[in-house]
């Protein structure tokens, strides 16, 4: 009887915690719905500035995610499979950008491109990152690439390495075995990681604002547009952007859950 009471008290406490967390989300939706009426929202949504921010965000986040995948898939694979000296150190190092505030990451990138010979050469002669749109992609890439590695390493950990060994005895080389066996087996996890990384890139603010700046109609992604609108007290536009980001977050979560619990993405 005592044990039953203990469990009930524990469950009650857990329920309160869950409700408390859920309240944050409800508060955001509530704020959005009481503050703005549909017509204001529609006009804010259709405003040139918000449209520009949506397009820029979609393009930069997609490019950053694709670039991050190109690097993160092999990196996560190596981190999962290979045994080498200093692996723990590398593992810890690539976690740093996750623990670091994005604004610090952006500052480090800004200093690199404005104060080091290599950085200045790249920024002047190859591709301009500082206060330009490519800077947004780089800022997003810096934040999400390590996140993608973190998310994908357990996916590769969960795939029996013996599948690749069997593939090799069947006449396929190392890369071929990876492409034909490991990658298809990892596709759900990789896709899930990509979706989350993409969502994180869309919401990236700290590193972006530091490296690419907050210039209207130039480096104005959705979070920066929200920041700029809040700074001039244009709450209608800010709220429209919050609702867009919210809708995005909900869609991403639904897609991720569908992949995780709904039997994966179709072949």
């Amino acid at each position: 009887m005592t044990r039953l009471k203990e469990i009930s008290a524990f469950k009650l406490l857990s329920g309160v915690c869950l409700a408390f967390l859920a309240m944050f989300i409800v508060a955001v939706i509530f704020a959005g719905s009481v503050f703005s009426d549909p017509s204001t929202l529609t006009s804010a949504f259709l405003s040139e500035e918000v449209q520009f921010a949506i397009a820029l965000t979609l393009v930069t986040a997609t490019v950053a995610t694709l670039l991050a995948l190109v690097v993160s898939i092999p990196a996560a694979y190596v981190l999962s499979r290979a045994r080498f000296h200093g692996k723990d150190l590398v593992d810890a190092l690539i976690n740093i950008p996750i623990a670091l505030p994005p604004v610090a990451l952006g500052t480090a990138l800004l200093i690199f491109f404005t104060n080091t010979p290599l950085g200045i050469f790249i920024d002047n002669s190859i591709i301009k990152f500082v206060f330009e749109a490519p800077g947004i992609v780089l800022a997003q890439f810096s934040v999400i690439s390590v996140l993608a590695v973190r998310l994908m390493k357990p996916v590769f950990d969960g795939i029996d390495p013996r599948y690749e060994k069997v593939a090799r005895t069947l006449g396929h080389g190392e890369l071929d075995s990876f492409i034909r066996v490991t990658l298809p087996l990892a596709k759900d996890g990789v896709f899930g990681a990509a979706v989350l990384a993409w969502a994180r890139a869309m919401g990236e603010f700290g590193a972006t604002v530091t490296l690419a700046g907050a210039t209207r109609f130039k480096t104005e992604t959705l979070p920066i547009a929200m920041f700029l609108n809040l700074s001039v007290a244009n709450l209608e536009n800010a709220m429209a952007i919050i609702l867009i980001l919210l809708a995005l977050a909900v869609s991403v979560l639904l897609v991720s859950r569908k992949i995780a619990y709904g039997g994966g993405i179709p072949s």
Binding site: D160, R162, Y163, K165, V166, A167, R168, T169, L170, G171, H172, G173, R180, V181, P184, L185, S267
Partner: protein, 344 residues
């Protein structure tokens, strides 16, 4: 791993046996090339393949629990090892499936297959590449005991046909002796990363070369010392009793281990040798009593004490015939030629 010396002729199946952790799978992976060896050589038909990548070795590998690719269908799994997908390649897959009697599995998902079906698909997948060596790593480790016997017999038939038709050398890894005996002509016993003994089954069962092999094979191991050697026969005193065994190079007074297979001991209610074919042989006969007995279907394991303990295996029918029970007085009989000696 160390001191690995193995020679596997085409068309003959070799069983690699040993306890868990003895290095069987590691050795198989070295042969397949998915693990590198530090020193030594691996040759196929005189060609050195030691530093050849696994994809170039032409090795068929059927791993533990088969490892069929879960994202591919049965046909796609079998066709996986083919170089160029073509109409001819598709025909080869069909022929291979017909040969192994699995055409009904065409198009099926690997998840829906039974243990035996998976095993045949894995075998087909390995054979389609026309390998020179076929490596089977405990292919039935996850199959229940009842189905295993039937599957083993089916595989044995397929292997016999496959190894002779394709002229390849199958190496079968298991820790189950009965399974190994059913599947292979020769046996190699591994312990601690080394091969303790290799040879035809008869030879290994007749004369185990080390205490480990004798122990692993379940032999009775009796410690004693040599009291006489005469006419190719050695007499060894064990716990005050004299055991005769065939040997020529022992010296009187030497400490030895007499080893004896449980299946070679017969029981009788009388001192006279029971088996007619043994009557003209040099036979050891000891009086003792039954100390333990366990019937396992058609055969039984019996423990007796004849001044020293002996374990033996016999048919349950004979146990009933002799009306054996714990404490029964009995004569243990075994031929001197079945006793071999190891230096202690």
């Amino acid at each position: 791993m160390k001191n690995i010396g193995l020679d596997v002729p085409d068309g003959e199946c070799l069983a690699l046996v040993g306890p868990n952790g003895s290095g069987k799978t590691t050795l198989l992976e070295c042969i397949a090339g998915i693990r590198q060896i530090e020193s030594g050589r691996i040759e196929y038909n005189g060609t050195d393949v030691t530093h050849l990548a696994p994809e170039k070795r032409q090795v068929g590998y059927v791993p533990q629990d088969c490892l069929l690719f879960p994202h591919l269908s049965v046909d796609q799994n079998i066709a996986f090892g083919q170089r160029n997908p073509s109409a001819d390649a598709a025909k080869q897959v069909k022929e291979m499936m017909e040969w192994l009697g699995i055409t009904h599995l065409a198009g099926r998902h690997t998840r829906s297959l039974s243990g035996g079906e998976k095993q045949k698909v894995a075998l087909a997948r390995a054979l389609i590449t026309r390998p020179r060596v076929l490596l089977l790593d405990e292919p039935f480790s996850t199959v229940d005991r009842a189905s295993r016997t039937r599957l083993l017999e089916e595989l044995r038939k397929s292997l016999d046909e496959v190894s002779h038709t394709l002229r390849l050398a199958p190496i079968y890894v298991t820790h189950d002796l009965a399974e190994a005996q059913l599947m292979s002509d020769d046996v190699a016993i591994m312990n601690n990363g080394a091969i303790e003994q290799v040879g035809p089954w008869d030879q290994v069962l007749q004369t185990p070369r080390s205490t480990f092999v004798a122990d692993f094979m379940g032999f009775n191991i009796l410690r004693g010392h040599v009291t006489s050697t005469e006419n190719g026969l050695a007499v060894v005193e064990v716990a005050g009793q004299s055991i005769e065994g065939a040997d020529t190079d022992l010296t009187v007074g030497e400490e030895v281990l007499a080893v004896l297979r449980p299946q070679t001991i017969s029981l009788s209610l009388e001192r006279d040798v029971r088996k007619p074919s043994w009557r003209h042989c040099q036979c050891n006969v000891f009086k003792g009593s039954v100390t333990g007995m366990r019937k396992m279907g058609s055969f039984a394991q019996v423990s007796i004490d004849v001044g020293f303990p002996l374990n033996l295996e016999m048919s349950s029918e004979l146990v009933d015939e002799l009306d054996l029970a714990i404490g029964s007085s009995i004569f243990a009989q075994f031929r001197a030629s079945e006793v071999s000696f190891l230096r202690a």
